[in-house]
């Protein structure tokens, strides 16, 4: 059996409607970006909250956050996804369960599961970065804020967090890129994101190598583009006086 190379395959019709294979990739990329951004918003909000909780001088509060991090970091992402997609809907109350399983479009319910799963999974990682950022600040910052009469919530929102975020931009960037890569698990519960579209193209066109080469190029470009963008941001907001990648 010979392999027929054909790099023009992406402009050919898929035979489904009037779409070309390139259209499939564009749709898939759209889904990938939508999943990643929605999950990232959850991860950033919940992760920041947990990160703060871990540094708060209260055993119970920090214990809860630690337990969360350990739980979500030590169970494989795929297991978590199956739990959110297959198990959790069955635990919902009767009415909600019917709505989720029957009224909702299957794509929408899969999307909700993936976004929630990826968001909570990544939140555990973001939490650790936020905690590291807060702990990396000189202790005098907190003490000074306290001496000036700031309340605990004011210390965090006005003094600690604004500085911590600026320090942890590089690790946060790599977590953000991980969300994009991890969103590919959505293909396993039938969401037609980039990887699923690639597999479908490979099957329909029999141009396996071209199909996967384009997919890797898209992921690669996305990664590099975001990384360069974040490097610029990092330089712009770097905290003066601290040693950082972008600093002088």
């Amino acid at each position: 059996m010979n392999y027929n190379w054909d790099w023009g395959v992406f402009f050919k019709s898929t035979g489904v409607g009037s779409e070309t294979y390139l259209d499939w990739y564009i749709t898939g990329l759209g889904w990938t970006i939508a999943i990643a951004i929605a999950a990232w918003i959850i991860a950033l909000l919940l992760g920041s909250l947990l990160g703060v909780m871990r540094t708060v001088p209260n055993r119970l509060v920090s214990g809860i956050a630690t337990a969360y991090v350990e739980l979500f970091r030590n169970v494989p992402l795929l297991v978590q996804l199956f739990i959110w997609y297959f198990l959790i809907p069955d635990l919902l109350p009767e009415g909600l369960q019917e709505w989720y399983k029957q009224d909702l479009d299957p794509t929408t319910s899969a999307l909700i599961s993936v976004v929630v799963c990826l968001g909570l999974f990544t939140a555990a990682r973001v939490c650790e970065q936020v905690r590291t950022g807060i702990q990396a600040l000189p202790r005098g910052q907190e003490a000074a804020a306290r001496a000036m009469g700031f309340s605990l919530s004011q210390i965090y929102t006005n003094v600690l967090l604004p500085q911590a975020y600026r320090i942890i931009i590089p690790p946060l960037t790599s977590e953000f890129l991980n969300v994009f890569k991890n969103s590919s698990v959505a293909s396993l519960i039938g969401l037609m994101e980039l990887l699923a579209q690639t597999k479908q193209t490979a099957e329909f066109s029999a141009n396996l190598f071209e199909a996967f080469t384009l997919a890797t190029l898209i992921y690669f470009t996305l990664n590099m583009g975001l990384m360069l963008l974040m490097r610029l941001v990092e330089k712009k907001v770097s905290v003066p006086g601290l040693i950082s990648v972008g600093g002088k």
Binding site: M1, Y3, E70, L71, R73, N74, V75, P76, L77, L78, V79, Q80, F82, I83, F86, L87, D90, L91, L177, K181, N182, S184, V185, S187, L188, L195, T198, K199, A202, L208, F209, F212, A215, T216, Y219, F220, L222, N223, M224
Partner: protein
Amino acid sequence: MMELDFSSIGPALPALWNGMAMTLQLMVMGVIGGIVLGTLLALMRLSSNKLMSNVAGAYVNYFRSIPLLLVITWFYLAVPFVLRWITGEDTPVGAFTSCVVAFMMFEAAYFCEIVRAGVQSISKGQMGAAQALGMTYSQTMRLIILPQAFRKMTPLLLQQSIILFQDTSLVYTVGLVDFLNSARASGDIIGRSHEFLLFAGAVYFLISFSASWLVKRLQKRITV
């Protein structure tokens, strides 16, 4: 509300154990292959030869920017083709082989970065002293630098191995019966998929959690 009944897990344990054996096999082979290939890549990256270090750099950047799931899927579909081109005849390879190759090549990119950081953390005087004693470059690396570097980076290598242990569950996509897949299959047959899924999650958690804890203790002992 559904009711959970875990009593059916007992009889399924032999099947689950077979799955776990597959998971461990994938992990061990991925880690060994990944470390060997990763060390070679790290040496290439650190070499003064521009071409070599750029090739290794490109390899690392490439594999670090694509999802593991994509690599597994691609290799599963592509390895038979590539082997046919090389050997000229049909060579049947199973999903297992293609997954092991995928893990080795993917993890090598991550192990390379760990080894590189490890080598760079060794003081320059070690290299100078070895050369002053008349050792060649390969002797210096083999006998002086790498043994010290590996000792320093053992915790990181182990941590990465735990991550791979969790990531092996992705072989679900090519139908290989690892621990997760055997749990799903056993649960589906008797209609108790929820219990088996929770059980699988609990086992993954216990193994990863206790392994991470041991690694943390080891790290403390090493850094003293």
